[in-house]
């Protein structure tokens, strides 16, 4: 018989799950306020997915173009998100990003510099001005290493290679802890905590072609869902337009948007620069319509409009998809991304060193001489755990979420560069929010022992059953299903088929079996992740089926335009009392009038307004 008192227990005020940018930021912020702060991560510290971010972090520092202002950043973000963003979150982000970036510099980040010696900023899709603070094309590495090297001296109790299994609550429904498992030994541990921050990233590993690593299995969504929290807008999955397409083994690996930011252009098999044909009506006034104007913009002409390659990611991904479908794809079914003829070899190696290296080694291609082949790859979840903007608390008392696993900040489509700054801003808010909550609570709430037992029994039964399904093959089936039926372009019939397949996989997964012992056993880890992937995939597919419009990253072939009606709704998914997933169409709150005005203002008017504000 399983005796819970024999399982090791540690007590915290604030516990953070996930040690990417958001998790580290929130742990650092919590450690300022709370005595006992814990941080657990599935990988080794410093290896989380943030390390893969390349292009930069967006903040209206105004170091390169001093016309920039938080209001313009906010407007860009809302327009990029097709106005579905939670207004207050987009506001908080735009207002605080610059301070957070400067704080990161004080903690040791060494950004590329402007001629004046300040943090340099580069252009990116959807951003009006050069706005992304960066370090070549390895900004994520710089960010995570800075936070890691700073954070380890702040008295945070860090547990590496430790997988969170499920959340524990007390009788009144408050957060009480989480059951975890050390990957190296298979030992279970119960972390008791007053407040819990989920910073677990997304669930891109549910798709076949993805830029995400093994860690991205939607753990946060699934644990929050099981704990009764509401998920929101999971139908918005960003397919990054430029993933590698060849060779097959690297398909999906990210090619930074920085390539286009530095002047790279997209061409089809006929050599045509096709993005000029895909400029949406809404962005016509702000986008160059000739190659000549685009070239002037690249040369630094402030009156020229931006090249169409720098339209938002949803637009570019759909354009590449359409070109391939029309038979004008590259040799291996993508588009050509050309930087070789646009920049000197020396410039490319300096500005995009890791892209140069990545293609050289993995595709045996010299990007200073030849164009790259690129195509859409599942990259990011805009939706996630529903949180309150200022505190980041979810709909479960004491449960907080920040970073990719939280919903709202990015609406229907995220702008490149807004993710790293999101991690800084909302990581910080989550740390403070969770600390404040923990402080007003007396003792750590008492968890229900039966719940803990059940979680542990579910995990060990995967190892103990005599025979069953191979978790790797179940995962491959799920990935194929999501790729084919819940992909970039969606239809009613395919989505229904996708949901049915997920139901079948859920049944099979009840009998998943891992061979071997509990000691560092990837087969077992894969099987444990399957439950999370399936909950995530189901929420995505059901929400995608309900939203009968095309908006941002969610594209329906049978409802091809944005609908005024749907603009007013979020889609909430939560666990019903019968144990089945509930999908609810919920009316959005009325926006704050001032924020509404800024987001919908004409660019020229807003620019004049902030210029006037700046004058003494």
């Amino acid at each position: 018989m399983l005796d819970i008192s024999e399982i090791r227990q540690i007590e915290f005020d604030v516990l953070v799950i996930g040690a990417g940018g958001a998790g580290l930021c929130s742990a650092i912020a919590a450690a300022k306020e709370s005595e006992k702060v814990g941080l657990i991560c599935k990988s080794l510290l410093g290896k989380a997915h943030t390390v893969m971010a390349e292009g930069g972090m967006a903040a209206a520092l105004g170091n390169v173009d001093n016309r920039d202002h938080w209001k313009i950043h906010f407007r860009d973000t809302m327009r990029g998100g097709k106005m579905l963003n939670v207004w207050r979150m987009a506001e908080l982000h735009a207002r605080h990003a610059a301070d957070r970036v400067r704080e990161l510099e004080q903690w040791g980040a060494v950004f590329d510099r402007t001629k004046e010696g300040l943090i340099n900023q580069r252009n990116f899709g959807g951003h009006r001005y050069p706005r992304l603070a960066h370090v070549g094309d390895r900004t994520g590495l710089e960010m995570i290493r800075t936070l890691q090297d700073y954070g380890i001296h702040k008295g945070i109790d860090i547990h590496m290679e430790c997988t969170a299994l499920d959340i524990l609550k007390d009788e009144s429904g408050k957060i009480a802890g989480v059951v975890c498992m050390y990957r190296d030994t298979g030992e279970f541990i119960i972390f008791k905590t007053k407040s819990l921050i989920l910073a677990t990233g997304g669930g891109g590993k549910a798709w076949e072609i993805t830029s995400n690593s093994w860690e991205y299995t939607g753990d946060g969504y699934a644990m929050a869902y099981e704990a009764g929290a509401e998920l929101m807008d999971l139908e918005f999955n960003q397919f990054h337009p430029t993933g590698m397409v060849w060779p097959p083994s690297v398909r999906g690996i990210l090619v930074t948007e920085g390539v286009r930011g530095e002047g790279g252009i997209l061409k089809n098999s006929e050599g045509k620069r096709f993005m000029f044909d895909y400029i949406p009506e809404k962005f016509k006034n702000e986008t160059a319509d000739t190659e000549e104007e685009a070239a002037r913009w690249l040369a630094g002409d402030k009156d020229a409009r931006r090249p169409p390659e720098l339209l938002t990611r949803d637009v570019v991904a759909r354009a590449i998809n359409a070109e391939v479908k029309a038979g004008r794809g590259s040799k291996h079914g993508g588009a050509y991304l050309d930087i070789a003829t646009r920049r000197s070899a020396e410039d490319i190696k300096k500005k995009l060193p890791s892209m140069y290296h990545q293609f050289k080694v993995l595709a045996e291609l010299d990007i200073t001489k030849e164009p790259m082949e690129v195509g859409p790859t599942c990259h990011y979840f805009m939706g996630g755990i529903r949180v309150e903007a200022d505190t980041t608390m979810s709909t479960v008392e004491g449960l907080f979420a920040c970073g990719e696993c939280a919903a709202g900040m990015h609406g229907a489509n995220r702008l490149g560069g807004n993710s790293l700054s999101d991690l800084l801003v909302f990581g910080n808010l989550a740390g403070t929010g969770a600390s404040n909550y923990a402080k007003q609570l007396g003792a750590v709430p008492k968890f229900n022992k039966e719940d803990a037992k059940k979680i542990i029994r579910n995990a060990t039964s995967i190892l103990n059953r005599e025979e069953g399904e191979n978790p790797y093959l179940l995962h491959e089936d799920l990935q194929k299903n999501m790729q084919n039926n819940v992909g970039i372009i969606r239809t009613d019939t395919e989505l229904q088929k996708g949901i049915q397949n997920i139901e079948n996989l859920k049944e099979k997964n009840k009998n998943v079996k891992a061979n071997g012992s509990s000691q560092f056993n990837p087969g077992w880890h894969e099987a444990l992740a399957m439950r999370n992937l399936l909950i995530t995939a189901e929420a995505v597919a059901r929400a995608a089926h309900m939203r009968e419009e095309s908006r941002g990253a969610h594209t329906r072939d049978d409802f091809t335009t944005e609908s005024e009606e749907w603009y007013q709704y979020n889609i909430i998914t939560k666990k019903g009392e019968d144990g089945n997933m509930q999908v609810i169409k919920e009316k959005r709150k009325e926006p704050n009038a001032e924020l509404f005005r800024i987001a919908n203002a004409k660019l020229e008017d807003l620019e004049a307004e902030v210029a006037a504000e700046r004058k003494p």
Binding site: V110, L141, W246, Y472
Partner: protein, 248 residues
């Protein structure tokens, strides 16, 4: 490329053996792909670390035919068609299981290093630190490090268990160098570099530099300049005299 032969270490720190596997290899595959294929088809519990699969996170460090490498950046066509490929864990660290080693020692070394301490002077402004690009380039070069610990793995000092506690190893020497050469850092780490971090232990064989997947000039740009700074401080007769006279 066809069906290829592999030998992979299976076991832990106390006992283990090389186990034979076969895998169909197609164009463009890297060694990590092979490990994943074997894991999915034949050995579900084969332990290996990985994350980014693009040479950016430094998780998948192993020894391939005896050479320390990132499995995700080692292409199968680097090897002859009939060559058997042997995959073993890093030698300098205790084996947890199969190809996974316990690298926690490295995290302990990092904790000993005094973190970045920004100078509070006229270049620390409201708009951030003011530093010229040329002045941060050396530090940025070191900060490319992905902490794969391949350099630690081949370091003679670290491989010698007795000496392990006396030297932080090449990875952390370049972390120290990145801090010491940061134009806006005002902490003094020279005494610690000599005493606690063991700069004298390195005898400049450059093995670390050779295996660095990021091509960081660990020895020439990082370790040697730090050694020089230590020498200048402690062994330069003129400086010793200078300090005696001025009591610095």
């Amino acid at each position: 490329m066809g069906n290829r032969k592999f030998k992979i270490y299976r076991g832990d720190n106390t006992k283990g053996e090389l186990v034979d596997y076969n895998c169909d290899v197609t164009e463009g595959m890297v060694v990590l792909d092979v490990m994943h294929r074997i894991q999915a088809d034949d050995a579900n519990d084969l332990a290996c670390r990985w994350n980014c699969k693009a040479g950016k996170c430094g998780s998948c460090s192993v020894e391939i035919n005896g050479r320390p490498k990132l499995a995700c950046m080692t292409r199968m066509n680097e090897y002859g068609d009939d060559e058997t490929i042997t995959i073993t864990p890093l030698k300098a660290f205790p084996i947890i299981k199969d190809t996974v080693t316990d690298v926690s020692w490295n995290y302990k070394q990092n904790l000993k290093i005094k973190p970045f301490s920004p100078a509070q002077n006229k270049n620390n402004t409201e708009k951030g630190l003011v530093m010229q690009q040329v002045d941060v380039e050396r530090t940025q070069h070191f900060r490319k490090c992905i902490e794969c610990y391949l350099c630690q793995n081949v370091c003679h000092v670290i491989r010698d268990q007795e000496a392990k506690e006396k030297f932080v190893g090449p990875r952390f020497m370049i972390r120290l160098a990145s801090l010491e050469m940061h134009p806006m850092d005002d902490a003094d780490r020279i005494p610690a570099i000599k005493e606690d971090h063991g700069s004298g232990m390195c005898n400049i064989t450059r093995c670390c530099t050779e295996v660095c997947p990021e091509d960081i000039q660990i020895t020439d740009d990082g370790i040697i300049p730090l050694k020089e700074r230590v020498v200048d401080r402690y062994y330069d007769p003129f400086m010793i005299l200078f300090r005696k006279i001025f009591k610095k």
